[in-house]
């Protein structure tokens, strides 16, 4: 089936795209011709104009139809307004769906459809005639992310009859019945508990997906728990590891964790999404950051926005200030737990609040498609005493915008030597051109922001490819 792109490409690669479309669309009746200048026939769109750039992570030739997915799944994709597969979906899906099942380590930029890629694999592998027998396990580093993935499975699978998806996160699975679903999405700790209590029958699991795999397999964090989960599962299970970032040390472990895996990797300079305009605001001092922050909202069209801060206190203070300025704000950080965290994030997801102020808990994975801007109110740091700039976190943070080829903006605040150095460090690491904004003349800054957005919109569909290997 020919989707838009393939139909456009249709003129068969001939480098003579200016050929007038066959029929001179002529037989228009008389009066109409009057205001026609030179379009007695129409010119085919030039290939070069199409940005059908094979390098783009959103480029793909095939349609979802061609992937041979069951109709119910395909309808789910259409209902979600998915029109055609992104690169990672197009490249990785055939590998993941092939039989006998093969492990996979896949890296792709933020917002390029990784979640949908593994969800499609999971849905294709699940036998819906056994709705309460766990067959796929998906692990994520945070409760929010687990719930988000659960929602994606349910949405794409909305026409799959008999599909049950449960979230194995604290306080959700009933202690009496245990896990009674074919797809389980959870955090490693809760999953281990459930298996140990024999409330989670893992004997028939066919797929294990680990999202944000570099974070999950990091030995200083969740790595040990993930290894324990794996040791409890059938040995034949298909393992899929996904992330936007894979630092070298984690990669080595990942390859052991998922032996003989097919791999899709990115180079370091290819990690940033080109559709995100990255800027920084040179603030005269820390105090003025508040005011400058509020001013940003007049510079461009903003749907939702995410503001990353270092401490809970500054989160609360910013919330107060912004609410006074008419914004509806959610502040979400470690001080909240469980269900109240869910409720706060739901406010933001549903659009009841349009500003999310958060600490690093939400840097990864959270997908709210209308996020137009990410503000690094504080530059992300790591290590003892926050001495080192945290490049990975920076990347994941700004990846909350520019989802699936949309335009996004990130603005990082610097106000002293340390923050400036940290940011330039990160910029060097990824080879990014950061554009400076000046808080003194807002007319000028407004113009500049508009221009930057415009120029990166032209690049939005473009970004280097994942070299499959």
């Amino acid at each position: 089936m020919a989707d838009l792109a393939s139909r456009i490409t249709a003129p068969a690669g001939t480098p003579a795209p200016k050929v007038p479309s066959a029929a001179p669309e002529a037989p228009v009746d008389g009066p109409e011709e009057t205001n026609l200048v030179d379009n007695t026939y129409e010119v085919e769109v030039k290939l070069s104009d199409l940005q059908n750039d094979q390098e783009s992570p959103l480029y793909s030739v095939s349609s979802f139809d061609e992937l041979g997915l069951p109709k119910a799944i395909n309808d789910g994709l259409l209902a979600m307004n998915f029109k055609k597969p992104s690169k990672i979906q197009e490249k990785a899906l055939p590998l993941m769906l092939s039989n006998p099942p093969h492990n996979m380590i896949a890296q792709s930029q933020s917002g390029t459809g990784k979640t949908a890629a593994f969800v499609l694999t999971v849905l294709s592998r699940v036998d819906l005639s056994q709705p309460t027998q766990p067959q796929a396990l998906l692990l994520a580093p945070s409760r929010e992310l687990a719930r988000q993935i659960q929602m994606v499975v349910q949405t794409i699978g909305q026409f799959c009859e008999g599909l049950i998806v449960e979230a194995a996160i604290p306080g959700v699975i009933s202690r009496e019945t245990g896990v009674k679903s074919s797809v389980v999405v959870g955090t490693p700790g809760t999953v281990i508990d459930l298996i140990k209590r024999r409330q989670f029958d893992v004997s028939q699991l066919k797929v294990l997906v680990i999202d944000e795999a570099d974070n999950m397999l990091d030995m200083q964090g969740l790595g040990e728990q993930c290894s324990r989960v794996k040791s409890l599962l059938p040995k034949t299970i298909q393992i899929l590891l996904f992330s936007a970032t894979f630092p070298a040390n984690v990669m080595a472990f990942a390859e052991k964790f998922a032996p003989n895996a097919n791999q899709m990797k990115l180079k370091q300079q290819e990690l940033t999404v080109k559709g995100i305009s990255q800027m920084y605001m040179d603030c005269p001092d820390e105090k003025q950051k508040y005011e400058i922050l509020c001013k940003l909202y007049g510079l461009m069209t903003i749907g939702s926005s995410v503001i990353f801060v270092r401490t809970r206190d500054s989160a609360t203070e910013i919330q107060r200030r912004m609410e006074a300025d008419g914004h509806k704000v959610t502040a979400l950080h470690g001080a909240y737990e469980g269900a109240s965290r869910d409720a706060l994030l739901d406010d933001f997801r549903s659009g009841r609040s349009k500003v999310l102020i958060t600490t690093n808990v939400l840097a990864r994975g959270i997908d709210v498609s209308s996020v137009a801007i990410v503000i690094n109110y504080d530059i992300p740091m790591k290590g003892p005493g926050d001495r080192e700039p945290d490049a990975e976190t920076y990347l994941h943070r700004i990846g909350r915008t520019g989802r699936f080829g949309r335009v996004g903006v990130s603005i990082s605040f610097v106000y002293d030597r340390k923050s400036f150095d940290a940011l330039s460090n990160i910029a060097r690491f990824y080879d990014i051109d950061l554009i400076q904004l000046d808080p003194n003349d807002w007319d000028v800054t407004e113009k500049k922001v508009q221009d930057v957005i415009k120029s990166s919109r032209a690049k939005a569909d473009y970004a280097p490819n994942a070299t499959s290997g």
Partner: protein, 554 residues
Amino acid sequence: MAGSSPPRRQSCQWASPDRSSIIADILVDDRNSEARHKSLLESAKKEHDRVRLEAERVYQQHMQKEEQQRLLEEKQRILEAKRREEERIRLEEHNAAERTRLHALRAKKIELPPTPKEPEPPKAPAPASIPPPVQKVLQAPSLATPINGTTAPQAPPTSTLFGGKKTMITSQLAAHNPFGAPRPAPASQTPATTQAPTAPNTGGSSLGGNATINGASSQTKPGQAAQAAQSAPQPSTPAAPDRYTVIHQNLKILRKFMIDQAKANKALKGRMGDMRREIRKCVGQLTGGVGANRIQQASIINLLREAMGNQVGSAPMDPSTFILEPRNPVQGALHNEHQLPSLFLYLLNIFAKATISQFINEAGARPETADPVGVCIAFVFSDPEFLWRGASLIDILMAKFRIVCPVLFGYRGNEKTEQGRARLGWWKDDGRWVGDQQHMDRMTGLGAGFAAVSLRKFANSKKDNPYPPRHYWAAMARIVNTPPAEMSNTQCVVLRSMIQNFEQKFVEFYGTAAIVALRMCLVDFPARAPQKTPAVGSLEVLGQVLKRDAGLHL
């Protein structure tokens, strides 16, 4: 490999004795004997015959195939021609039926009783995407029933048609009034050569024009007939320039003019940028929920009021360059003067621009966010303080819609051609077409935005609806009436997002007629599509979703 070698060698061994026998043949004594010569000739002839026979056979086969192909094509051509003829006959029949009906209606229309009230009293100078001449006509229909009286006489066929229709409908469904004044799709008037089959345009899709849908609700047949009549007005409209495009140009000039003014006027410069950013911020802050946007709406109103007060002394300007139709002073209107402060017009323009941009950027990703913006638009443009000569200035917003989402106004185009894309409002950045994901996102947001603006309920309001629902109906009809050959993914995407999340409002306004219309949009229209693209498929899937979630059986 080890296995494969020996056999090869063997075959060599077989061959060599052969070859040596040929050599032997040559060397043998009687190689020039006549007998041998003959026998060689004989075998050569045999070989020749074999080859010839084979060639003949293949040739025959080929001819047969070609003949078959030709027959097949011929058959198809005939079928096609037949279909077209049938179409034409059906059309003509409709035409005839409609004309008789029309006469009948004309004859009896005077005795019409005053009809039930409209859900909301639509506004007089109803914006119409079409050139001014038609517009007066449009204005009338919006005022509920008297339509017939006002429109029919002076009107080109369109209005007559609708006038006629309405008489029938009104008795059935009060809600029908919003059908107001759809008129022929401007499609044909576009630069479009694409619209080649213009006349069939309306008829081609056997599912008639706005009219058809209209009629379908009340009585199927007449409705269908109506559609035929619709093709009549088309030739009369086309040549006129598209007023919305002119307005759009004028707005650009206004923006430049303001920048120049600001250079000379310090007070203006000091305020203008801040006001602009404040409006943009407020539009961005809008969220769903009752009363959630009171503060934002109030600040926008205050800013516009401040601009209207014109403390900063911006130059006055004639608002009529930004509306479809010239207006005369009306009694009781707050602003009857022939000029308004340019800062006010500019900010109204900025407000419109901000909302359009919000539709594109936010609703493109999440269509449900369009609704609160639509509410705010209706709120601001209907505010009596900001009316000019008794009517809203919403044409400023609609001119922008016309530019960024032409399919709403009946423009069509082929996504594979340069001109087609231009007509569909496919954006260019840096001289390159934006990617299709981006384009479809834009269209999604704008479709939802248009619905959010045009499906507003003013029944409980003292204010007039600046853009009543009939415009929604008309836009929908213009898309659904596209002949299959001219359908585009863009249209499907816009149509889908016009419907999704708005089905309930639509049904509230139009009742059963809305359900029939939805059926046309989500069942018949995609079924006619020559190619089942994902965009087409997602219309069908929306039908399934409505059935599942809203119990709406189409």
